[in-house]
């Protein structure tokens, strides 16, 4: 920082632009979060303009969204059920993004995990008692998701192949495979519609407080991920590789192995999210099992600054929007896709507000700010 401002000062003595930027790292966390909350409020205000344009009262619409998501027990359960896979996938993406490995393949890794879990549930259901069966589904889901995540990592580690595009393509390959299973080998013979049979009761997750125990699993992973990234040696290696591959190599780290290992973890957690959807929520596998969760989760992870605890709130918030949009569709005849529009606006505002947290605008005639501190 010191050297930087020295440099800026020297440049300043020649010609001073109207506005210049200085990086800052000194903003207190409370102020930074205040800015983020303000950006959400701003986004809701933009949404309110839209609602007014449609001829409704924005306050009653927003109030209805909250009511529809929380006021009855059923709605609370529904909202939490939406949040669980979202949080799971966001946690999955976290270590990869921390490493600056742009894994946008969580959608596919969720499906890979869901396929494996469904396979166990459909074909091994008679072979073991319920707890073992569910445990095997869990492991199968994690392993399948992990393997699906490792393949792009191998190519990245060995040949430096662009992981963004690779993981993106992999989503659609596994989606096609799910459609194949749905229309062919796994199609329920009795139904006229191409769908996979519901999995047996034995393979369904038990409930705690009215919601399947996935919420406990996911919260456990949240805590584990926080400590893994912050205190474990492997977590440290991930952030070094993320900051600078060359530094990591110089320090004697096996970068290729770290990439592969981290992507296995990333894919495995996504796979677990897939298992939770199948075993706790849908009780079947279909092409809409992942339903865009893997993509939305990327924004959740990023907006939480890769902080697992913050992700809990952001995923609950987006789940509220999504659940609430069904309510306003019924009550106000506002299309449910309003949730996506609103989510988009919120994402834009939050993405934009980071700039004001990380940078400082310095105008020409404000000598007091010169030091940039």
């Amino acid at each position: 920082m010191g050297a930087n401002s020295e440099k800026t000062k020297r440049v300043l003595s020649h010609a001073e632009p109207l506005v210049r930027l200085a990086k800052r790292s000194d903003m207190p966390a409370s102020k930074a979060w205040a800015i983020r909350v303000a950006s959400i409020v701003a986004a809701l205000a933009i949404g309110a303009v839209l609602i007014v344009a449609l001829g409704h009262n924005p306050f009653s619409v927003y109030a209805d969204m909250v009511k529809g998501s929380f006021f009855t027990k059923t709605s609370r359960v529904e909202t939490i059920k939406i949040a669980i896979p979202l949080l799971g996938a966001a946690l999955a993406i976290t270590p990869a993004f921390k490493m600056k490995f742009w894994n946008i393949g969580a959608e596919g890794q969720i499906l890979a995990g869901a396929i494996a879990a469904t396979y166990v549930a459909l074909f091994w259901i008679d072979k073991m008692p319920r707890p073992v069966l569910i445990l095997v589904m869990f492991i199968a889901g994690a392993a399948a998701g992990g393997i699906w995540g490792v393949i792009p990592a191998l190519f990245k580690a060995k040949w430096g192949i662009n992981e963004t595009l690779f993981t993106l393509m992999f989503n659609y390959i596994v989606l096609g495979f799910v459609r194949y299973l749905q229309n062919g080998p796994w199609r329920a013979p009795a139904s006229s519609f191409p769908q996979i049979a519901m999995i047996g009761f034995q393979s369904r997750l038990p409930k705690v407080f009215g919601v399947h125990i996935g919420w406990i699993i996911i919260l456990a992973i949240t805590v584990a991920m926080f400590f893994y990234l912050k205190y474990a040696k492997q977590g440290y290696e991930i952030s070094v590789v993320g900051e600078s591959v060359k530094t990591a190599q110089y320090a004697g780290m096996n970068v290729g192995w770290i990439i592969i290992r981290t992507m296995f973890i990333s894919g495995a957690i996504a796979g677990i999210a897939g298992f939770l959807i199948v075993s706790g929520e849908d009780f079947t596998l279909s092409e809409s099992t992942a339903g865009g969760v893997g993509f939305t989760a990327i924004t959740v992870a990023w907006l939480s600054r890769l902080n697992p605890f913050v992700m809990v709130f952001i995923s609950m918030f987006l789940a509220t929007l999504s659940k609430g949009s069904n309510t306003i569709q019924t009550n106000f005849k506002i299309p449910a896709s309003a949730a996506e529009v609103l989510t988009g606006i919120i994402l834009f505002c939050m993405l934009g507000c980071e700039f004001f947290i990380n940078y400082k605008l310095i105008f020409r005639h404000r000598k007091g700010d010169e030091a940039g501190v």
């Binding site: 194949y180 199609r187 924004t299 896709s337 309003a338 529009v341 988009g344 940078y359």
Partner: protein, 326 residues
């Protein structure tokens, strides 16, 4: 033979939206912006195009099909370019992460399209559709020439949007490879710091290329609504097209010339099973639909391993450029 000609025609019609999306995204990525919002921008273009034509017809006593079509193109371009402008402002000026911003744009654009599609439908009393005259323009062909046997059918039996797509692709190809500004744009995409030092206005180039590229993608969305769905809004009608376009950019290795071939190959693949009896059952045809993505992965791997610089992604693509951080 007749069936073969039919197949070629269907291929061209099916490949055109891919061509718009691919060329638009190539222009965008050449400036170093990996905009994953193609799908969103196509949705925005699709609904704006439809709305433009619809309201023109509603407020004009004697609507003319050609003008409605023109309005649809302009509206689609502008609305999608506006989506790209949000992306530009966030990534270039406010330095937000490109991947995340692109995905946010896809979420927003998809919602935007479906939302206004539904609003428009309910205002129009059930469902929104353009007039027969406008539909005729989008199902049109080149007069006189199209009546030549075989050749006329193969070359001149398409609507104006198909020819526009080909013209745009060729224009972008020539711009990128044959003009000084095109060279500058490629420099910005490969190494913005060097381009900046050479006196190129990096920010301006990125903004313009991304917005124009986004606008072109938007025309692709309009094409899907107007031609593929015959001028009726169907929810989620554009789903998947944008991602295929992102795949195609890799498949054609960032060349608009090859995009002309690649788009029609993908278009052909998507209609092949209706013309050739492949003996696929319903399940197998689902696997068949994966072929474009699998082929794209293979191209990505091969070009990556061979490290051919000509076929590689623009070097700075996906990373933002901060002048202060050199």
């Amino acid at each position: 033979m007749y069936k073969f000609i039919q197949f070629i025609c269907a291929t061209i019609l099916a490949g055109t939206p891919f061509l718009y999306g691919t060329v638009g995204e190539i222009l965008t990525e050449k400036s170093g912006n990996l905009n994953l919002g193609v799908e969103g921008m196509m949705f925005m273009g699709g609904i704006a195009g439809l709305a433009g034509a619809f309201y023109y017809e509603k407020f004009t006593a004697v609507p003319i099909g050609g003008i409605a079509a023109l309005i649809a193109v302009v509206c689609a371009f502008c609305c999608a370019a506006l989506g790209a402008l949000i992306y530009c402002f966030l990534t270039i000026t406010l330095r937000a992460n490109q991947n995340v911003t692109g995905l946010a744009l896809t979420i927003f654009g998809t919602g935007f399209g479906n939302f206004f599609g539904e609003v428009l439908s309910s205002r129009a009393g059930g469902y929104v559709a353009v007039s027969a005259a406008t539909k005729a323009v989008f199902n049109g062909n080149v007069p006189v020439l199209s009546s030549i046997p075989t050749v006329g059918k193969l070359l001149f039996s398409y609507n104006f949007a198909v020819y526009l797509a080909v013209i745009v692709a060729i224009a972008i190809a020539l711009f990128l490879n044959r003009t000084r500004k095109g060279l500058s744009l490629r420099a910005v995409g490969e190494n913005p710091a060097t381009a900046d030092a050479a006196g190129i206005n990096v920010t301006l180039y990125k903004y313009l290329a991304t917005c124009i590229g986004g606008g072109i993608c938007g025309i692709g969305g309009m094409y899907i609504v107007m031609v593929t769905c015959s001028g009726v809004w169907v929810n989620n009608c554009i789903s998947g097209y944008g991602w295929i376009a992102v795949a195609l950019v890799i498949f054609v290795t960032w060349s608009p010339w090859r995009a002309l071939i690649g788009s029609f190959i993908f278009g052909g693949l998507s209609v092949l099973r209706y013309y050739l009896h492949l003996g696929l059952n319903n399940a197998q045809s689902q696997l068949y639909d994966v072929v474009p993505y699998a082929a794209t992965v293979i191209v990505l791997i091969i070009t990556g391993i061979r490290q051919s610089r000509e076929h590689a992604i623009p070097a700075s693509c996906g990373e933002n450029y901060f002048r202060e951080e050199r």
